[in-house]
Amino acid sequence: MTPRRNYARRYVWFVVPAAFAVVATILFPWLFTIYVSAFDWRLGGAREWVGFANYTKLFSDERFGWAMLRTLLYTAMAVVFPLILGLVAALVFNQKFPLRGLARTVFILPMMATPVAVALVWTMMFHPQLGVLNWLLAQIGIPPSMWVYSPDTVIPTLVVVEVWHWTPLVMLLILGGLASLPGDPYEAAKIDGATALQCFWHITLPLLAPYIVVALIIRTIDALKAFDTIYVITQGGPGSASETINIFLYLQAFAFYNVGYASAVVVVFFAIILALAALLMWTRQRVKQ
């Protein structure tokens, strides 16, 4: 045990500079956030020690509660749809066909594009009178929608953008899984006269399960983190109909300058995220085996 240990320890210095940067930009903010959350702290103003008051206020704040609910609703939709579509897309791109490389590259362009730029184009397309989407709906006989301009449709509409944006990542993760599938079970199933659908249901899907789980977790985390497109398209509106936790957090900290309260929001959000991080690591280890 000891020689192996010493052998490993020699490499510590490779990690030290990066570790220092991580401490400065990642660890320090965490600790400082916890500290700030115990104050009634105004940006550029007074601060006063309040202990847990920010947290108790948080749990009775209806606006926070609604933001939490909206985030959960948004996350649920922004996970399920990309997973289904990403799985279908991965199955398609796993086939051999002419121009496959090009088609796959075009398919992943949305996730590489600058979110702000994309959000601007979607904003224009959602315009109720002049937007191209309502015109397209009219062509197939569907009545126009208010898209992001109505509290009833704003969340599903933002999910549409999120699905467009991040389905490619799910596709890539599952495609990686498909590439590693063994050929033997399929040979055996073919001899036994299984149909393509049976093959998919009884062989492909179980073998893909670990990859789907990884995609599920990554998607959940990214959906919880979603900020850019929501902020650019609606800034939480109309009213507060699309105010998710991230928008709530942003407004508290940088519009109302309530950094103490906002820090408490961050800490609560952290608890959720750390649980997910543990799950992600655990899953990754299982996939590796």
Partner: protein, 272 residues
């Protein structure tokens, strides 16, 4: 006959899958090349006729677009460069030590919402008197670029055969020399992947600059978002600006698609 129908059906499904991506980007291009009159016409005008470049000219003429473009270039290159300097050795060290817990810590950075770093770092930069320079933006972008580089490099160095370095060590090389002259040249493809991905996600980042940037230090995404707030209706210049911001990234993706796909599948990496 049945096979032919199957093929046509398959081709159609490919088309259905990629059309949302194509249509949004083409619509962006179309909006940027039409007059304001055509842009607000109903039914919409799809093919620009006449084609106009005025929107692009307008973008460059106002809003200090070139200054913001320069800011974006400085920030993305610095954040990527620093991340490579720190992250490539770190990835090597972690792979050699098999320090899974350290790797986990880096994953948590990947997972944390960008906003949660901003409150403390904002206060810190104010206290240090760095506001008004590009440094706060570069430093916060490390939160995105460093985890990407480390994560890609870990999986890359883990995949390299250890024999060559061991031979170098037996011949009396120090571990630093083995890293510098044996492992690093072998890992060059991995470094390319890490470099491209961290550049793209730094370039695309909005959340840090929107809070930290002043008038002179805006990056392109922030500058373009400001255009929307102040000019709700002028779609042509807005689309032209949006396209200019995202064009470098799209071109890079088309050129380096193989590396990008490899890097993204390896770790499910994505910016904050």
């Amino acid at each position: 006959m049945k096979r032919l129908l199957g093929r046509i059906g398959f081709g159609l499904s490919v088309l259905v899958l990629i059309s949302p991506a194509i249509m949004v980007f083409l619509w962006m291009l179309s909006l940027s090349m039409k007059t304001e009159l055509d842009n607000t016409a109903f039914p919409p005008v799809f093919i620009p006729n006449p084609v106009t470049w005025d929107n692009y000219a307008e973008v460059f003429a106002r809003n200090d677009f070139l200054l913001y473009a320069w800011n974006s270039v400085v920030v993305s290159f610095s954040a990527t460069g620093i991340a490579l300097l720190l992250g490539v050795p770190a990835g090597y060290g972690i792979a050699k030590m098999r320090a899974i817990r350290l790797a986990g810590l880096i994953l948590i950075a990947r997972i944390t919402p960008g906003l949660s770093y901003l409150i403390p770092l904002f206060l810190l930069f104010q206290w240090l008197g760095l506001t008004g320079t590009l440094w706060p933006i570069i430093i916060t972008h490390l939160v995105i670029t460093l985890p990407i580089v480390v994560w890609v490099m870990i999986s890359f160095f883990e995949g390299l055969p250890a024999e060559l370095e061991e031979a170098a060590l037996v011949d009396g090389a120090t571990i630093w020399q083995a890293f510098r002259h044996v492992a690093m040249p072998l890992a060059r493809p991995g470094i390319t992947v890490a470099c491209i991905l961290s550049f793209i996600f730094s370039w695309n980042n909005f959340i840090f600059a929107v809070v930290l940037a002043g008038r002179e230090t805006r990056t392109l995404p922030v500058a373009v978002n400001n255009m929307l707030t102040f000019e709700q209706i002028s779609w042509g210049p807005l689309s032209a600006a949006a396209l200019l911001v995202t064009a470098p990234v799209l071109i890079l993706t088309l050129l380096a698609q193989k590396q990008i796909v490899a890097g993204l599948t390896a770790g499910g990496v994505k910016g904050a």
